[in-house]
């Protein structure tokens, strides 16, 4: 009832861990893999990155605001950490980089992964993420380079802060196997006592409930324009949100900020989702894109 296929990747359920959340250590990935359809690691590049100083993650009324700055160990060190992954579900490794060569090299280092996600959307790292995603020609070259080095599925994670429909089309033409929409949305907060931006990096990315309607719209739009799978991400906190995203066209979803509420969020979502599907007499697959049909 819950099984889905993303290109040649078969998942027992459509609920994935989103990149950037609890994805730096095998310990947390192993725990989440018990229930998740797949886990996506924190983004890694060839070289390690310090990231930004604290505070780099804060919670606010309607979600989370972060500018961690792609803090990560060097690729080879992270590969060693991921060797301790228990394999309870497929492992998707997320990459950042600034040119096709870097991405292509990363694929080789993580050849044991089940799929790859390309971070074209992190909103707060200079020369990476969103800044790469803005250059559609470069995105095309990156995906081509990665695909030449692997037969495993390659997903592109896009931002709502640019023309994501056009970008998704470019990704599809480069033979990406799916679009993950969306990453965090640019935002910031200011402390009115000290009169300064709260994040050490001044601005960062908004996630959590606040961006759910925004992400849903992106999924809807991309689903209308490309035929490769869309993976929904952004503010999904419960099974109802998952259903909304499926109806909008998401073949799978990713859960991030909702881990703030509970470490068991994926398990809880699966319970509710199964009930909904049973009551409605449909499989998850049949829900996908249903709200587009009149």
């Amino acid at each position: 009832m819950l099984e889905v296929e993303l290109s040649n990747l078969r998942l027992r359920n459509p609920i994935m861990l989103a990149s950037g959340i609890l994805g730096s250590h095998a310990g947390s990935l192993n725990r989440i893999a018990e229930h998740a359809g797949a886990v996506v690691t924190k983004s890694v590049g060839l070289e390690g990155r310090e990231g930004y100083k604290n505070p780099c993650v804060i919670s606010w009324e309607c979600g989370i605001l972060n500018a961690v700055g792609l803090a990560s160990p060097p690729a080879k060190e992270f590969a060693r950490e991921l060797k301790m992954f228990n394999g309870a579900c497929p492992l998707i490794v997320s990459f950042f980089g600034s040119n096709p060569e870097e991405f292509a090299e990363l694929v080789k280092i993580f050849d044991f992964a089940n799929a790859f996600e390309l971070n074209l959307s992190c909103p707060h790292a200079k020369g990476l993420g969103l800044e790469i995603g803005r250059d559609f020609d470069l995105v095309y070259e990156i995906i081509r380079a990665v695909k030449r080095n692997t037969d495993k599925p390659v997903f592109a994670k896009v931002s709502a802060n640019l023309d994501y429909v056009e970008l998704a089309k470019v990704c599809e033409s480069a033979k990406a196997d799916g679009i993950v929409a969306i990453n965090t949305v640019r935002g910031m907060a200011i402390d009115i006592v000290s009169k300064r931006p709260i994040l050490s990096n001044v601005s960062g990315g908004v996630s959590g409930k606040a961006i759910k309607p925004i992400a849903l719209k992106c999924v809807w739009d991309i689903y209308e324009e490309v035929s490769i799978p869309v993976i929904g991400c952004g503010g999904i906190s419960n099974w109802k949100d998952v259903v909304e995203f499926a109806l909008a066209g998401a073949r799978a979803v990713q859960i991030g900020s909702a881990f703030y509420y509970s470490y068991d969020v994926i398990k809880n979502i699966l319970e509710g989702l199964e009930s909904y599907l049973r009551i409605n007499g449909v499989s998850f697959d049949e829900l996908v894109g249903l709200a587009h049909k009149r």
């Binding site: 959340i21 310990g27 604290n54 780099c56 972060n66 000290s194 300064r196 900020s257 470490y263």
Partner: protein, 226 residues
């Protein structure tokens, strides 16, 4: 601001924080960094200068504005007969715990080890306290685990053992309590590098996947491996 010695100080906040002993706050030292600090009372943290940010904090004059998020994390639990084992600046959350337990009519025995006499803080606040220093400048010369063994403490006299201190000390105590088969009755406050403090970034996860900032910082001994 209470300056205990050159490297240790207690910062007293203007307002108390609704909290339990063992919980921590993310304290933002403007122009430096935000760092996790265990509360040493509902309205204070006690800091040792080990890096740039903690050095800046220890040098505060009083009246400075800091940013505070929290309190976060799972606190210590109550027991009627308590043994507290503190190493170095690990005394901070245990001092909060001590007063919290005493106010609730618990019997509390404190074992407290530090590098030297100078770094022993809050000493006069404890009724029954056994002290060790590495340099022998006060109490037993040696570490606090050696002192526990030397004094031949019978752990069965205590309902619960509470512990906070440097990793090497936690490890020795863990092994000792493991041998005595009372890890279930022990609570360790664990330290890890933290970014978010709210269970998301994953910086502080233990090998078993538990998050120090959410499932911890206080863990039952049998939840841990060393």
């Amino acid at each position: 601001m209470v300056r205990h010695c050159d490297s240790i100080a207690t910062l007293v906040f203007e307002k108390s924080i609704r909290s339990y002993p063992g919980q921590f706050v993310m304290l933002n030292v403007f122009d430096y960094e935000e760092i996790p600090l265990s509360l040493s009372s509902p309205n204070s943290v006690t800091v040792k200068a080990v890096g740039e940010t903690t050095r800046a904090l220890v040098n505060f004059k009083g009246g400075e504005i800091v940013g505070i998020r929290g309190p976060f994390g799972r606190p210590f639990s109550y027991s009627k007969r308590a043994l507290i084992v503190a190493g170095g600046i690990g005394i901070a959350p245990l001092r909060y715990l001590y007063h919290w337990l005493r106010e609730r009519n618990a019997e509390v025995t404190v074992f407290y080890g530090a590098r030297s006499k100078e770094e022993l803080v809050f000493l006069d606040e404890f009724e029954e306290v056994h002290v060790s220093t590495d340099d022998g400048s006060y109490g037993y010369r040696g570490n606090v685990i050696q002192l526990l063994i030397k004094e031949n403490v019978d752990f069965n006299d205590f309902e619960r053992v509470y512990c906070c201190g440097p990793p090497i000390m936690l490890k020795s105590l863990y092994e000792l309590l493991n041998k005595k088969k009372i890890l279930k009755r022990a609570e360790f406050s664990v330290e890890r590098y933290m970014r978010c403090g709210i269970g998301l970034c994953g910086s502080c996860v233990l090998e078993n996947g538990l998050r120090v900032c959410r499932e911890g910082p206080v863990f039952r001994g049998d939840e841990l491996t060393f």
